[in-house]
């Protein structure tokens, strides 16, 4: 009996002085498997009911505190990635700032929620977890979707610049070697130009959707369409390369 009590005391001590429970500023361990295993071990332990509830409550609070810290770190990482975008246009910087502000509000929400954890009872930890999960699905998840779309779109702009340069270079090559007279080459080059124009139009629409405050509607579908048109442009380049190889063999 004494050994059992010592065991429970050691277990509680380990949990109470763990960095998660003390809200320490050390970087949180965001793989929760270990803590969930601990929680399961408490249930499986042959303690009396009252001790079991007390020990499980401590474990639950510890895990919730860790989840809150990890959620804050997750949001701050997203903000850091957003702010690392090398934007030059003022309009896009405004969008970037708006999104960063929304992430800041998410972090404030988590900070407030974290303060409530210590006062929770057993049932309270269950309700708190459910409520936090629902809040994340309704607020944080759509925000990460929008930030993700914005980051991807910005990354795409380098590809558009490269394709534009490539198109100009191929245009020069076609003119220098007087390949324009070849009907097939002319058609392929024209098709490449058309595909690139379509890609640019879709890309522009995505930009406009960002600039309309809070409206990211269809932006992902449009972005995908613009990239597909860009890929088709390159297919035309490959066909042109193949054809020129036949006309001017080396």
């Amino acid at each position: 009996m004494i050994a059992k009590r010592i065991g429970v005391g050691l277990f509680l001590g380990a949990v109470l002085f763990s960095p998660y429970f003390t809200f320490a500023s050390a970087p949180p361990n965001c793989d929760f498997r270990g803590q969930l295993d601990t929680l399961r071990a408490v249930r499986d332990n042959s303690l009396d009911y009252l001790q079991e509830v007390k020990t499980e409550l401590v474990s639950r609070k510890s895990l919730l505190a860790n989840i809150a810290n990890c959620s804050i770190e997750e949001a701050l990482s997203l903000k850091s990635r957003l702010q690392s975008l090398p934007l030059k246009e003022e309009r896009l910087k405004i969008v970037q700032d708006q999104l960063a502000g929304e992430i800041d509000r998410v972090v404030s929400y988590y900070e407030n929620q974290k303060l409530k954890i210590q006062d929770l009872g057993f049932r309270g930890t269950q309700d708190f977890s459910r409520s936090l999960k629902d809040w994340r699905a309704a607020n944080y998840s759509p925000l990460t979707d929008r930030v993700g779309t914005f980051i991807l779109w910005n990354d795409n702009q380098k590809l558009f610049q490269t394709t534009q340069n490539r198109l100009a270079q191929i245009g020069q090559t076609v003119r220098i070697f007087k390949l324009v007279d070849n009907e097939e080459i002319q058609d392929l080059f024209q098709a490449a130009q058309n595909n690139f124009r379509e890609a640019q139009e879709a890309n522009q629409k995505v930009r406009e959707s960002f600039e309309r405050t809070g409206s990211f509607e269809n932006s992902l579908t449009l972005m995908k369409s613009s990239l597909e048109s860009l890929a088709k442009t390159y297919q035309m380049f490959f066909d042109l390369s193949e054809l020129v190889r036949k006309i001017l063999p080396y």
Binding site: C30, D31, F32, R33, Q35, L36, L39, R60, L63, L64, I67, C70, S71, E73, E74, S77, L78, S80, R81, Q126, S129, R130, L132, K133, R136, A137, S141, T144, D145, V147, G148, T149, I151, L152, D155, N156, L159, T163, R166, Q169, I170, Q172, T173, F177, L220, T221, M223, K224, L227, E228, L230, A231, Y234, Q235, F237, F238, S241, V244, L248, Y250
Partner: protein, 159 residues
């Protein structure tokens, strides 16, 4: 008679020209006669001749050893604009972006901080299944080495 003696004595003083002496000595010794350039122009022209012959020899050696394959450098396909290998690299970059756009947004469980730095992790999803079902499935089916996400842990705690 006196005149004859006088003439013979003058013959003692007669010497060949310096250049003649040098050429003759060269011919006898077998080293050949080398006429040293005197003017700047001669020096320049000799250097130019030497340089040109060296360059031509070098080019000849290069062509013999390297073959004529280097003529391909002048082929229009070698022009960067239609070079298939560089086209392929650029096309692959576009394919990667398309894949990122297609990726389902996986809840960014931040096991490592760089995971959220990657756009791959935060790529939005389309047509995501019912979240509750998805999370339950993930928790139950995840292998021991897989990290458990924030939402999976919250789901477990809400039970």
């Amino acid at each position: 008679m006196e005149k004859l003696i006088e003439t013979l004595q003058k013959l003692k003083v007669i010497e060949p020209e310096k250049e003649y002496t040098l050429r003759s000595r060269g011919l006898i010794v077998g080293t050949g006669f080398e006429r040293r350039p005197r003017t700047t122009w001669e020096v320049f022209s000799q250097t130019l001749q030497f340089g040109a012959s060296l360059a031509l020899t070098g080019l000849l050696i290069f062509l013999i050893l390297g073959g004529f394959s280097s003529w391909g450098v002048f082929s229009p396909l070698r022009l960067s604009s239609l070079d298939p290998s560089s086209l392929r690299v650029e096309a692959q970059a576009i394919d990667i972006q398309i894949q990122l756009t297609n990726l389902n947004y996986a809840e960014p469980a931040i096991k490592t901080s760089e995971s959220t730095q990657s756009a791959q992790r935060i790529a939005p999803q389309k047509g995501k299944p019912n979240e509750k079902e998805q999370s339950s499935e993930k928790v139950s089916s995840s292998s021991p080495s897989e990290p458990i996400s924030i939402d999976d842990a919250l789901l477990k705690l809400s039970e």
